[in-house]
């Protein structure tokens, strides 16, 4: 283990280390803590410039209720859910099929296809913007949930395919071969043998891609515009313009927007990190 386990050091070092941990955490997350504090302040506090001191009253329920009552935040949240969940399912499904093909079949163009999926995943969004916008308009999807779902499924398929391929490569070939000898059809092999084995990877991938799609801002600006379809990222930044002085409400909105991916991350931390590094540490 590197660095040396701290238990082998003197007692003083140990105590110092353990004290320094919470201090660094507080410093590291200070900007966020400030936002959370502000989201429960009263408007009097804000108007009097009491931003960093102790709140004179705790308006937790009032502020969060107000965000949902007097802004479209509830609708934005719903939109984000309606966009993110189908998009995650679509991307994971398509990439599991494609990842299996790239992992377990030797064919001409295999490496080229893998390179295309990986490379496409890194391109700047701007090179796609105008044609994707035109395509969305001509499909009659502009300003609908489907506009964003379709794009996210297509784009995330790049990363997801690499991820699934790297996972499936590690599955034993003998299992597939013996099924083939028994005359099981290729699709049944996928469905009954491969799919049950990749379930843990699917969870890891889904958590990760959920965060990517939920946090998207660029495409939310480019492909939709009305409040009835706008996801929470674009919604929040438009609120920022409208509610300029009510920092307590904007902060509450920011906390609401950040909460779903954060909750998912803490609930499935191990999956999340496994996902991030399986896609990454190879190579």
């Amino acid at each position: 283990m590197y660095p040396k386990p701290i238990e082998h050091s003197s007692k003083l070092v140990n105590v110092a280390y353990r004290i320094s941990l919470p201090i660094t955490i507080v410093l590291w997350l200070m900007p966020l803590a400030a936002v959370m504090m502000t989201s429960i302040r009263s408007i009097q506090d804000i108007n009097q410039g009491n931003y960093w001191g102790w709140p004179t009253s705790f308006n937790f329920i009032e502020n969060y209720m107000l965000v949902f009552q007097s802004t479209e935040m509830g609708q934005y949240l719903l939109n984000s859910i309606m966009i993110t969940i189908p998009a995650v399912m679509g991307a994971v499904a398509l990439s599991t099929l494609a990842g299996y093909a790239l992992a377990k079949y030797q064919f001409k163009g295999n490496i080229l296809m893998l390179a295309i999926f990986i490379g496409g995943n890194f391109v700047p969004f701007q090179i796609l913007m105008i044609p994707v916008r035109d395509l969305t308009i001509s499909l009659g999807l502009y300003d609908t949930h489907m506009a964003l779902i379709m794009f996210h499924v297509a784009f995330q398929t790049g990363f997801c395919t690499l991820f699934m391929r790297n996972f499936i490569v590690g599955l034993p070939n003998e299992l597939l071969e013996s099924a083939r000898v028994d005359g099981v059809s290729e699709f049944k092999i996928f469905w009954h043998i491969v799919l049950p084995l990749v379930k843990p990877a699917l969870a890891a991938l889904a958590v990760l891609v959920f965060t990517f799609i939920w946090n998207d801002y660029f495409w939310a600006l480019v492909l939709v515009q009305s409040d009835t379809v706008r996801p929470v990222t674009a919604g929040l930044s438009s609120l920022q313009g409208q509610w300029l002085a009510s920092w307590n409400l904007i902060s509450a909105g920011a906390v609401v927007a950040a909460l779903p991916p954060v909750a998912l991350f803490f609930a499935m931390q191990r999956h999340f990190i496994a996902g991030l590094t399986l896609g990454a540490t190879k190579g």
């Binding site: 283990m1 590197y2 997350l29 400030a34 496409g120 701007q126 990454a280």
Partner: protein, 308 residues
């Protein structure tokens, strides 16, 4: 496992008819059938748009009317435009300063790679900024920098420095945004290094310790070489992240004041969506794409070499 063997058993007992998928299909087509849905969508939404943007960059187009072929005019205008050079310079500053993320991430990873109580939670909290939307991060930092109520100025004031309106200063604004961008990027690099540190070979470290290798020498000659894969990924995602920067610029300053904090990604968006200059915007996108293509190609070559 029992599930699979029972499946295999069942299908074995069935008469294998040539009508079944996979037995009827020529063998070399099978992988393409599995890939077809993903490939089709990917081609439509990623591959075709890249080509299409290249072509569009040679046209003048307002997004509605007819397109007019103008050859290299968009590029000539672009290289003459001050905004373009500001954006490009800012992108270079982003890239240079973003390179702080891997070493700082490594530093934090080394600091946290211990087995004390609660360390899992501490690691998770350090990783936290990466999970949050950049819109929220932009909002948090705009506020942190606010000249009247921001914490930054309270701190500066406390130590007797002059306060500054960071986001309205042409000189400092880009650095302010980059600092906000570094926050989640450091978190990402940290997690890559933590995973790398987990996979170190204990034998080599023990051997080095027996040889009395210590401190910085140990890190440099024994640890860093083993962390090379993590470093490679960290550097690549950091460069790509710096070149992709859009969300923070859009939410914190919209490229201002007076275009001083714009980057290529934001300039492209502004020209096409606000100024209706689609061809010109496409030219900006092509330049950005070509810069990134260098890194993408480098990444692909290294990655595919390790596959073989």
């Amino acid at each position: 496992m029992s599930e699979q063997s029972s499946v295999a058993y069942e299908t074995k007992s069935l008469p294998v008819t040539p009508k079944k998928l996979g037995s009827r299909m020529p063998k070399h087509l099978v992988p393409w059938v599995f890939m077809a849905p993903a490939l089709l969508l990917f081609a439509l939404y990623v591959l075709y748009p890249i080509v299409s943007s290249f072509i569009l960059s040679f046209y003048s187009w307002d997004g509605l009317g007819d397109k007019t072929w103008i050859g290299f005019d968009n590029y000539i205008q672009l290289f003459d435009s001050e905004t373009f050079w500001t954006a490009l310079t800012n992108n270079v500053i982003w890239m240079v300063l973003f390179m702080l993320a891997p070493p700082i991430g490594l530093g934090i990873a080394l600091f946290l790679n211990q087995k004390v109580r609660g360390i899992r939670l501490v690691k998770a909290l350090f990783f936290f900024p990466f999970v949050i939307s950049q819109v929220v991060i932009g909002l948090v930092f705009s506020w942190f920098y606010d000249p009247n109520l921001g914490l930054l100025n309270s701190i500066l004031d406390l130590f007797g420095f002059n306060t500054i309106a960071l986001l309205s200063s042409e000189e400092y604004v880009t650095y302010g945004i980059i600092a906000a961008g570094l926050w989640p990027q450091i978190a990402y690099c940290m997690i890559l290094y933590l995973t790398g540190l987990n996979n170190l070979s204990p034998d080599q470290i023990e051997a080095a310790r027996l040889d009395r290798a210590k401190g910085f020498k140990m890190l440099r000659h024994i640890i860093l070489p083993q962390l090379a894969p993590a470093t490679f990924i960290a550097v690549v995602v950091t460069v790509i992240g710096a070149l992709r920067s859009f969300d923070l610029v859009a939410t914190m300053t919209a490229g201002g004041p007076w275009g001083s904090s714009t980057v290529l990604a934001y300039m492209m968006y502004e020209e096409s969506i606000f100024n209706y200059r689609m061809g010109y915007g496409a030219a900006v996108a092509v330049v950005l794409f070509l810069i990134m293509a260098v890194y993408i190609a480098y990444f692909l070559v290294r990655m595919l070499r390790s596959e073989k």
